[in-house]
């Protein structure tokens, strides 16, 4: 059986590129090296929810149609719209995004990618403060202090710790996976015993555990790799960390500012910040200053809690301050596999990473004004194209209500919640499985995506569908101009 090596996994922002797939009769039958999410995608992508024919809604019902007919209908919707939105882009390749931006410019719409609901605030703060960052390879080989803030890599980016941080064997830093795994196993056993005692003997209902207040253990002062997790709850990652700081929900900003003050040798006039005693924070600040190469990874826990972009502003400023004393870098834990690519292509083409408004003919950018959720909440759009995303399942209800009230075009391999509400649905090939292309890893390293199997008969790639819609829109607009001139 043919084995395809060095396949890039199209699931999360870690973009692991060491996956080995066994192909049999045009199907993936075995996945090696992948995490659970990777296996699930490669083995289960061709499930029962796959769409195989373009659909158009007629009298409230979906009707199967030809690609040509669906392209014509989609182009009509977009060409006639006064303020269309084009949303998604993070789970497709850079080539499709490039065509999408051309389409947005042609129809005078708002093009936005999923960063608007995840790391958009990070981008805003990076534009304000700047970002001292590096590639993940640097971190793997050199980082001796790894901090994850508002992010649970063990669950959301399962191979991140193994490939790039605490578990990885770097050239200058050793892996400590045995110790960490023992810890996580011990913690799981303890949890099970505690739960059994509570249920069987004490007959208590489960309750919210009190905030964990533990002094920093001596192990975080040792030489070598250390893992610190800062989060509102004790996640899997937190269970194995050398030190876990449980921050009160929505108090991250205060904690970050406290760290900044401590690193500047200021004294705080409070006993605790965000529920954490100041003397513990002083010790952690000490560990931060004493490390040789520190890294702070932050997730949606920081970008989407109270304070949003200003939390990131404080985190970036903290790293700037730390670089006066030692070497420290910071990196957002990007979610979708090519959300960084969507930002990169958008910046390359328009100057702005997301939420770009072409309604006046030139790109304008002002998240809050031109970001898709806000446009929908203000009920301003009159048509939408959604690609490789499922906003109906994720957006605020009021935004979804407006989105589905107007003509909606969906390009997706699956019949997801958004596709079910659409007026025109295009089936597309899975990028990274049935279509090749380029994707950007969370550290802005571009990696090639491979085509390992053929798409179902008649199913086109995202890029090809967008190209056809674009050329149809151009044709229609030209025809209209001729009519007006006549």
């Amino acid at each position: 059986m043919p084995v395809v090596k060095a396949v890039t996994c199209p699931v999360c922002g870690s973009l692991c590129d060491d996956i080995e797939l066994t192909i049999q009769e045009g199907k993936v039958v075995k996945v090696k090296n992948g995490c659970a999410m990777c296996e699930s995608k490669f083995l289960g992508y061709n499930g029962e929810h796959r769409i195989l024919k373009p659909l158009i809604r007629k009298n409230g019902e979906f009707v199967k149609t030809s690609v040509k007919e669906a392209v014509k209908r989609a182009a009509e919707i977009l060409a006639e719209a006064n303020y269309p939105v084009l949303y998604g882009w993070s789970s497709t390749n850079c080539e499709a995004t490039r065509v999408g931006i051309e389409l947005a410019e042609e129809v005078g719409g708002v093009i936005d990618n999923t960063s608007v609901i995840c790391h958009g605030p990070s981008i805003l703060s990076v534009q304000d403060v700047g970002i001292p960052s590096c590639t993940l390879g640097q971190i793997r080989h050199r980082a001796d202090l790894v901090i994850y803030w508002g992010s649970d890599p063990w669950s959301a980016h399962p191979r991140h710790i193994e490939r790039y941080t605490a578990f990885s064997q770097g050239r200058f830093e050793n892996s400590a996976w045995r110790g960490y795994l023992t810890k996580i196993k011990a913690s799981q056993v303890r949890k099970k015993i505690e739960s059994a005692v509570r249920r069987v003997f004490l007959k208590e209902a489960p309750s919210i555990p009190p905030l964990i207040r533990r002094e920093p253990p001596p192990s975080i002062f040792r030489e070598g790799r250390k893992l610190v997790i800062i989060d509102v709850r004790r996640t899997r990652s937190a269970q194995m960390a050398d030190y876990f700081i449980q921050v009160e929900p929505n108090r991250d900003y205060e904690l970050l500012q406290a760290f900044r003050a401590l690193i500047r040798d200021e004294e705080l006039e409070v006993d605790q910040v965000a529920g954490v005693p100041v003397e513990y924070l002083e010790e952690v600040a000490d560990v931060m200053i004493r490390c040789n190469f520190g890294v702070l990874f932050f997730g949606v826990g920081l970008t989407m809690s109270s304070g949003k972009l200003r939390n990131i502003d404080a985190a970036l400023s903290l790293i700037r301050d730390l670089n006066m004393r030692t070497k420290f870098v910071i990196m957002p834990m990007r979610g979708h596999f090519n959300v960084t690519g969507a930002n990169t292509v958008s910046t390359w083409q328009t100057g702005y990473p997301y939420a770009v408004d072409f309604s006046l003919g030139y790109p304008r950018y002002n998240p809050g004004e031109t970001s898709v959720v806000d446009v929908l909440l203000r009920k301003e759009s009159d048509a939408a194209l959604v690609i490789a995303s499922d906003p109906v399942a994720n957006f605020p209800r009021k935004a979804v209500e407006h989105l589905v009230k107007n003509p909606l075009i969906v390009i997706d391999p699956h019949m997801n919640a958004t596709a079910q509400m659409a007026d025109v649905v295009f089936p597309s090939a899975f990028v990274g499985i049935e279509a090749c292309g380029t994707a950007y890893r969370m550290d802005h390293v571009p990696l090639p995506l491979k085509k390992v199997v053929e798409p179902p008969r008649g199913v086109l790639t995202d890029e090809e569908i967008l190209r056809r819609i674009l050329s149809e829109v151009k044709k229609m607009r030209k025809k209209r101009q001729v009519e007006v001139a006549a």
Partner: protein, 275 residues
């Protein structure tokens, strides 16, 4: 005087920077009706979206064009942007970027205002009789040049980040304010008569914020300085105390002043031990 009335209820964003006394002054009604204005992605003329009426004032001293807008223009953006003189009165709600970078004149709104009102204004006055959105007087994304002068008065509440990156001027809010009021402000005065959400004055380097109501918490990077009996807001206006005076934000080596009304904030009394 020019009177504008929306001809319909707007759905799409209207880019209305031509609604500006400097542009409209000296133009006849016909000329004004032909001015270009954007509705969504379609270029239109003012006459298609607004009913334009003209009442020439008889007072020779009032040669500056005054514009009144009757009705809801909450989708119309950039009204009065860059205006240098004259007056706009709006009887209804108005959209984003009202009076952006205005250099003089006056805008009065008898309704609510959306975000970025008075963004980066240099001079002049904006008076809002309803509520204002987020980023009052704050610059656009990625810009650190906030309000450089002028005055904004809001009789209602404001959203987050009022007066961010403020360099000069005064903002008076007679209602409550959202988070991060005076974020990274360098100078100027912000007065909030009622409550403020936390993180007031975050990263401020200078200037003055006065909070007359409840403030849930002061950032840990602020230090208490003293208790003051009264604080000057502007000429002929003084806020009666007592006020806790905090200095900060020390993470930016700042010496901005954050006054918090003592009587309504007994939970801050633990700072008194450092006096």
């Amino acid at each position: 005087m020019i009177k504008l009335t929306p001809a319909k209820e707007f759905q799409f964003p209207i880019n209305a920077e031509c609604i500006n006394p400097d542009v409209l002054s000296g133009k006849t009604r016909e000329e004004i009706e032909k001015l270009k204005i954007w509705e969504g992605n379609k270029p239109k003329k003012i006459g298609e979206l607004f009913k334009v009426e003209e009442n020439r004032t008889e007072n020779p001293l009032e040669k500056e064009a005054a514009i009144t807008i009757h009705g809801n223009v909450s989708k119309a953006r950039r009204i009065g942007a860059d205006m240098k003189n004259g007056e706009i009165v709006i009887l209804g709600d108005v959209g984003m970027h009202l009076g952006e970078e205005m250099k003089g004149g006056k805008i009065t709104v008898h309704g609510n205002v959306d975000s970025w009102a008075g963004s980066m204004m240099k001079n002049g006055t904006i008076e809002i009789h309803g509520n204002a959105g987020n980023y009052l007087g704050a610059p656009y994304r990625g810009c650190s040049e906030g309000m450089h002068g002028g005055k904004i008065i809001v009789n209602g509440n404001v959203g987050t980040e009022a007066g961010a990156h403020m360099k000069k001027g005064i903002i008076k809010i007679y209602g409550s304010a959202g988070q991060f009021v005076g974020f990274r402000m360098c100078d100027g005065t912000i007065y909030i008569q009622k409550d403020a959400e936390p993180r007031a004055g975050a990263c401020m380097t200078s200037g003055k914020i006065v909070i007359g109501g409840f403030l849930e918490s002061v950032l840990p990077s602020f230090t208490i300085d003293s208790i003051k009996g009264k604080v000057k807001i502007e000429e002929n206006e003084v806020a009666e105390g007592p006020f806790y005076l905090f200095l900060g934000d020390r993470v930016e080596h700042g010496d901005g002043k954050l006054y918090v009304f003592k009587t309504k904030n007994p939970h801050l009394s633990h700072y008194e031990k450092y006096l």
